[in-house]
């Protein structure tokens, strides 16, 4: 049976997006508990005990991030929620904010209290304008009910919550670019160090957390960190939202307990129920477009033959040679008819479009990869192009200011590593490559164009 749900259990209750219904169903209990019974340090301690790791992709322990926050006298501190969810294949934060906005607001209040922030921001991507309205409505309700503003619940703690929309750029999901954008500047990532925990928003100590991370603080405070840590395996604790997409019978947002096996997640009745139209699994990207792709034989089993589980460690087992990453939980599944070269080109085009253009390897390299992949996909490539792609990858990876360069290089490198014959087929069968996908005997029917 499906595991416990801590975040989206109440999502189907009618009217849960309103304050009254949310409060009646146990909402804002964590605010009450934290503000009335706990000191800020105790909240941080609970989060540390829970073993919660950042849900935005990097998986950095949240409690540790919070304890790094510098606390100089007389300088304000900020909590910023990163709602710039724009990784292809990831749509969990959107679901959470749209369906149960008060959960995020509750998490923001509790987390801000723990960090001693009196003004907190939710930075939301411009394309989510309709969610901005949902959040603002929820904030107004929370304020009217004394959950925001001066002297919250009589505790003497003040908090203002501001929703700030961005212009809609993937790069602004990188925390320092996000802060630049929030300050009203061009969203270029900053040089690190100094890290935001020391010098963030307007030069003040700042913590930037993902929407899901902040939402997860609510059950942690309610039930205690140790209780939360009991779910999951080893260093991957708690529950995780997975946005499953691709050729699945039942794609969608799932809340899973860490440690569910990948096999069960794809084929299990409580989850995605297998590959659509009776096809075979060909490949899977387990953590959003920027993590390495895995071929079918490495999806459910690791290279060592063990069952692969939905945890940070198990998905990364085997390093880049035979593993991938949990990333942000954007679980993309490909069936046997899909063309990996075409998919890689689509991703490369995305990264070329979203590179900020600040540092040379990423600015020039992503554009170059896109053009070479376009050539390969359309049957104008050569064998040297495949080697060239690998070399461009190596020259981008690790040489850029922010992780976007790595994110652009890894999927291409992994696609070539695991599906080289497919790239070669595009070179050796140039005319066929234009009419059908690798592995398909029939020409492909519809022309798929990205919006």
């Amino acid at each position: 049976m499906a595991g416990r749900k801590l975040l989206i259990e109440n999502v189907h209750i009618p009217g849960i997006e309103t304050f009254d219904v949310y409060r009646k169903n146990g909402g804002y209990a964590s605010v009450e508990k934290a503000l009335k019974k706990m000191t800020p340090d105790e909240v941080v301690e609970e989060v540390k005990k829970s073993g919660l790791r950042g849900r935005g992709g990097a998986g950095f322990p949240t409690g540790m991030k919070w304890s790094f926050l510098a606390k100089p006298e007389g300088v304000p501190r900020y909590l910023v929620c990163n709602a710039d969810e724009s990784e292809p294949g990831t749509f969990k934060d959107r679901y959470l904010m749209e369906k149960i906005p008060h959960l995020l607001i509750e998490g923001m209040i509790t987390s801000s209290y723990a960090l001693g922030a009196n003004v907190s921001y939710i930075y939301i991507r411009g394309e989510f304008m309709y969610i901005l309205h949902i959040l603002e409505k929820a904030i107004a309700e929370a304020r009217a009910n004394g959950m925001l503003g001066k002297n919250i619940m009589g505790s003497g703690y003040d908090l203002d919550l501001v929703v700030a929309p961005g212009g809609g750029a993937y790069i602004c999901g990188e925390e320092t670019a996000l802060l630049e954008s929030l300050e009203g500047k061009r969203g270029n990532p900053r040089m690190k160090p100094p890290f935001p925990a020391v010098k963030g928003l307007w030069g003040c100590p700042t913590v930037v957390n993902n929407v899901e991370t902040i939402a997860a603080v609510v059950p942690i405070v309610n039930n205690g960190g140790e209780e939360y840590a009991k779910i999951g395996i080893e260093r991957s604790t708690g529950t995780k939202l997975i946005s499953a997409s691709g050729n699945l019978v039942r794609p969608g947002v799932y809340e899973i307990e860490m440690g569910v096996s990948v096999e069960e997640f794809i084929y299990g009745d409580d989850y995605c129920q297998g590959i659509a139209n009776g096809k075979q699994l060909k490949a899977c990207i387990p953590g959003g477009s920027s993590v390495p792709i895995l071929p079918a034989h490495l999806v459910t089993k690791t290279a060592a033959g063990e069952n692969r589980l939905m945890t940070y460690e198990s998905l990364a087992d085997g390093g880049f040679a035979s593993g991938s990453m949990l990333g942000s939980g954007g679980f993309i599944v490909f069936d046997e008819d899909q063309c990996i070269v075409r998919n890689t080109y689509t991703f490369a085009r995305f990264y070329a479009h979203e590179s900020c253009g600040q540092c040379s390897p990423c600015r020039e390299g992503t554009g170059w990869m896109e053009k070479v992949l376009h050539r390969l996909e359309n049957g104008h490539g050569t064998m040297e192009d495949i080697t060239l792609l690998e070399e461009i990858n190596k020259k981008i990876e690790g040489n850029t200011i922010c992780p976007l360069g790595d994110a652009a290089a890894w999927p291409v490198a992994a696609a070539i590593r695991h599906f080289r014959e497919e790239f070669e087929w595009h070179v050796t069968h140039p005319s066929e490559a234009q009419t059908r996908n690798y592995g398909l005997i029939q020409p492909r029917v519809e022309e798929i164009k990205a919006l």
Binding site: M191, C359, P361, G398
Partner: protein, 320 residues
């Protein structure tokens, strides 16, 4: 003072110094090339990635090597840090990669570019570039635009080092000179027709490492290596009045600020000797200047003739 070792040479520097500046204190071959960092403009650096170095040991306290190559211009030294620049194959390979990236969309129009001969990208190409390109696609192009009536912007040649943006932000009054668009399509902009109308805007030309920003009063007049650089002074009230005039016979072809061997404007009496637009663009009469003597060009540039003979031979061998 803290000790740092760069390419097996030990040097003592002030705490807070960057690796690049520590290397500059040693001088010579040890110094990584820098296309975007400009010590006189706070906030520059970290963008071009040509100054990447390998940190073989972080510090005495934590001697682990840093996994990634670090941008030497924006990484501060720690006591006991061991840095490899020339001695690291990894640095050499990756710097070659960065140069390749910088050149794929560069028009390579050196034969008609005013910057040729004093261009940092040319130097970098000689040192780390390859003789052939692997780029088969069409290069990205922009139309040249005017920034005010004295400066021409050739966006095709730009490597987006952001130095001129910092000049506009720090020397001139208002922020009119930024970057538009992103990724490959990013371009230096003045919001098109909004001219940078300021007495010191001409310094953008001096800080530009390539031929993207050129002096319209000097465009296509002469190659720089045919000119004689002379140190000169004038009694200017706006700036220090200390400049370099570039002469052919008795005529002044152009005026620039005094630049050191890293292409940065020199400090004179503890103040960076930026020159004003009047000195740069309008004082072309030798009578207006008190010429004090020849200017030594220190950089390994084509201007110092003959310096590159062997390197060019090497390049030709590579092609053959």
């Amino acid at each position: 003072m803290i000790k740092v070792t760069i390419d097996d040479i030990e040097v003592e520097v002030e705490p807070g110094t960057s690796i690049l500046n520590a290397a500059r204190q040693i001088g010579g071959e040890v110094v990584p090339p820098a296309m975007c960092y400009y010590s006189k403009l706070p906030g520059t650096g970290g963008k071009c990635r040509t100054c990447l170095v390998e940190v073989a040991a972080g510090s005495t306290a934590d001697p682990r090597p840093m996994p990634k190559l670090m941008a030497s211009c924006s990484t501060t030294v720690m006591d006991g840090m061991i840095v490899k620049n020339k001695t690291s194959q990894r640095v050499h390979d990756n710097r070659g990669g960065v140069v390749e990236f910088l050149l794929i969309n560069h028009p390579l129009d050196c034969p008609i570019c005013d910057q040729a001969g004093e261009c940092h990208l040319q130097d970098l190409g000689y040192e780390h570039g390859s003789a052939k390109t692997r780029y088969r696609e069409e290069r990205r192009t922009f139309d040249p635009i005017d920034i005010g009536n004295k400066i021409k912007l050739h966006m095709n040649r730009c490597i987006l080092c952001y130095r001129c943006v910092h000049v506009a932000n720090q020397l001139t009054d208002s922020r009119v000179h930024g970057v538009m668009h992103r990724g490959e399509h990013a371009e230096i902009s003045t919001y098109i027709e909004n001219a940078v109308d300021n007495d010191f805007s001409g310094n953008m030309i001096d800080v530009c490492p390539v031929g993207a920003l050129t002096d319209k009063t000097f465009r296509f007049k002469s190659r720089v290596w045919f000119l004689k650089p002379m140190e000169a002074e004038c009694s200017c009230t706006k700036c220090s009045g200390k400049a370099v005039v570039w002469m052919f016979g008795n005529e002044i072809y152009r005026v620039t600020a005094r630049k050191d061997k890293y292409g940065e404007v020199e400090d004179i009496e503890d103040k960076t000797a930026w020159i004003c637009n009047e000195c740069r663009f309008d004082k072309k009469d030798p009578g207006a200047w008190n010429i004090t003597g020849p200017r030594k060009i220190d950089r390994h540039s084509v201007i110092s003739q003959g310096k590159y003979a062997t390197k060019i031979d090497k390049g030709l061998n590579k092609i053959g």
